[in-house]
């Protein structure tokens, strides 16, 4: 058995070394396919970053009853923070709300003058709530309207923001769906292109296969070296793709950071490196070996 495996590996390695141009074409196509997979994986990171950016801009403000005590407010804030649907809760006192309002309208003297006319601070203290997902605001609102928070909550501005939140939720869902469908289509197309290239390469070897059969070579002895060759091609393509992406990351890091409002491609690359290497090696080896296995089947009959 050991001799058998050793011979298959040797034959595969020999064919790899001696069929240079054919292997080069196969490696090139696998590099393109693996790079596409890696690009899809990276774009998922970029899209998630962009969606997080949008989500961070969405929140609801819970205006607090002016008669609520500090303890009641802290208690309400803590209970809200513990909810799994809630990402963060920020407390703003009425003075802080007033200060923020002034800053926002610093160039609008009419509004600032109207504040002077009112005389006292017209704002309520508030809790700004950010949900984990935009579609969870409705359930948070139901909770805020329940008896638990009845004494603390004066008003929630959800209805005013509902249209915007719903539109953004739909937009995010669309991005995810379109992204997923595009990724699947691209992946299928690239796998088919790679498979076809390998099929043509093996068609080229059909004469050799018929000779091997003539000499009485068992099918496993014919199939084995092609699979070994496929694994070698896939591994080399994976290593080349990894190096290629390292280069691309270094060149495009700053530009992507600007384009995506702060997505750190280099940091993403480092923190996902093990996953990227696994994806690249697995897809390279699978493409090389499985395509060879499928392509060779028809030449092994009788």
């Amino acid at each position: 058995m050991f001799t058998y495996i050793r011979r298959i590996i040797r034959f595969g390695w020999q064919s790899f070394l001696r069929e240079g141009s054919l292997n080069l074409a196969t490696i090139f196509v696998i590099i393109v396919t693996i790079s596409l997979f890696t690009f899809l994986f990276a774009s998922q990171g970029i899209v998630e970053h962009l969606i997080d950016g949008i989500k961070d801009k969405i929140d609801i403000s819970v205006y607090l009853n002016p008669e609520s005590s500090q303890d009641e407010i802290i208690d309400a804030r803590d209970r809200l923070s513990e909810l799994p649907a809630v990402k963060s809760v920020t407390f703003l006192s009425n003075d802080e709300v007033l200060e923020e309002f002034r800053k926002r309208h610093v160039n609008d003297p009419v509004i600032l003058e109207s504040l002077e006319v009112v005389g006292s601070n017209p704002f309520y203290a508030s809790l700004n709530i950010r949900a984990q997902n935009t579609n969870e605001y409705a359930s948070i609102l139901t909770l805020l309207n329940s008896a638990t928070f009845e004494d603390v909550v004066y008003k929630v501005d959800y209805l005013e923001k509902k249209t915007v939140i719903d539109k953004l939720s739909a937009f995010i869902d669309n991005i995810n769906s379109v992204g997923l469908v595009s990724a699947i289509i691209l992946a299928i197309v690239s796998v088919l292109v790679a498979f076809n290239t390998i099929r043509v390469a093996i068609y080229d070897a059909s004469r050799e296969i018929s000779i091997m059969r003539l000499v009485g070579s068992p099918n496993k002895f014919i199939r084995g070296p092609f699979i070994v060759q496929g694994i070698i091609n896939g591994t080399i393509a994976a290593i080349a793709s990894c190096l290629l992406f390292l280069l691309v990351v270094n060149i495009l890091d700053a530009r992507i950071n600007d384009m995506t409002n702060g997505f750190d491609l280099k940091q993403w690359w480092v923190s996902n490196l093990s996953m990227i290497i696994v994806i690249q090696l697995a897809s390279g080896i699978a493409l090389g070996s499985v395509s060879s296995l499928i392509a060779i089947r028809k030449y092994l009959k009788v």
């Binding site: 069929e19 050799e208 000779i211 091997m212 003539l214 000499v215 009485g216 070579s217 009959k301 009788v302």
Partner: protein, 226 residues
């Protein structure tokens, strides 16, 4: 040893390659099968190697009907037949040594046996100095001798040679035929398909003549008559 019994081969829709062929080849015989191109010689070889199946009839190899051999066992059956062809059928990305060694490797020969036997076989066919050459680097005669060495490496019961001299000049043709005779003298059955008149007449061995798919003559010590 080999029996062809009422063999016919018809390619659809109605092209008759062989029609009701029956003959037997004994162990250690040297049989030449002659005929014009298209007479059915190569079809007969394909049937014997079970690359194709007859439309009718049976082929026995050592009393076993070869049509009963399971596909998974075909390689082991083919290992008993050394095949030599006009177009050499060498593995182009392997050297002369590796082509011969390959036959032993697929049969499970040990590294020691391969290192011992391959140089001997290449010595028998006169290719001691071509071990490291690829098929593209040697002449037609040398390629055919490599193919014969590969066939011998399988230690076959039969060597089937289909037009082995078809691409060779008279000098190299004689070399190959001498080699086949030498192999036959060592006890291996040889079936030689050819349309080379000189070769057949010089052999003075059994000759079976095919014409348009039919067996028209079977003579001990025959001559090339068409």
């Amino acid at each position: 040893m080999i029996v062809f019994e009422n063999i016919s081969k018809i390619y659809p829709p109605d092209s008759v390659a062989l029609e009701n062929i029956s003959f037997r080849v004994g162990k250690g015989e040297f049989v030449s099968i002659v005929g014009k191109s298209g007479a059915g010689k190569s079809t007969l070889i394909k049937l014997l190697l079970r690359e194709e199946e007859p439309s009718q009839g049976k082929i026995y190899f050592d009393d076993y009907d070869i049509l009963d051999i399971k596909i998974s066992h075909l390689p082991y059956y083919r290992q008993r037949i050394g095949a030599v062809f006009q177009d050499y059928r060498l593995l182009n990305n392997k050297t002369v040594y590796e082509n011969v060694a390959y036959a032993m490797e697929v049969m499970g020969g040990t590294d020691y046996e391969i290192q011992r036997d391959v140089p001997q076989l290449l010595g028998i066919v006169g290719l001691e100095d071509k071990f490291g050459n690829f098929p593209r680097e040697i002449s037609g005669g040398e390629k055919q001798r490599t193919a014969i060495a590969r066939a011998l490496a399988m230690r076959p019961d039969v060597i089937v040679a289909d037009e082995p001299t078809g691409n060779l000049d008279p000098y190299h043709s004689k070399e190959i035929i001498d080699l086949l005779e030498k192999i036959n003298e060592m006890g291996t059955t040889v079936i030689l398909c050819t349309h080379d008149k000189e070769v057949i007449n010089s052999l003075k061995r059994r000759v079976i003549t095919f014409d348009q798919g039919e067996l028209v003559r079977d003579e001990e010590k025959g001559r090339f008559i068409l």
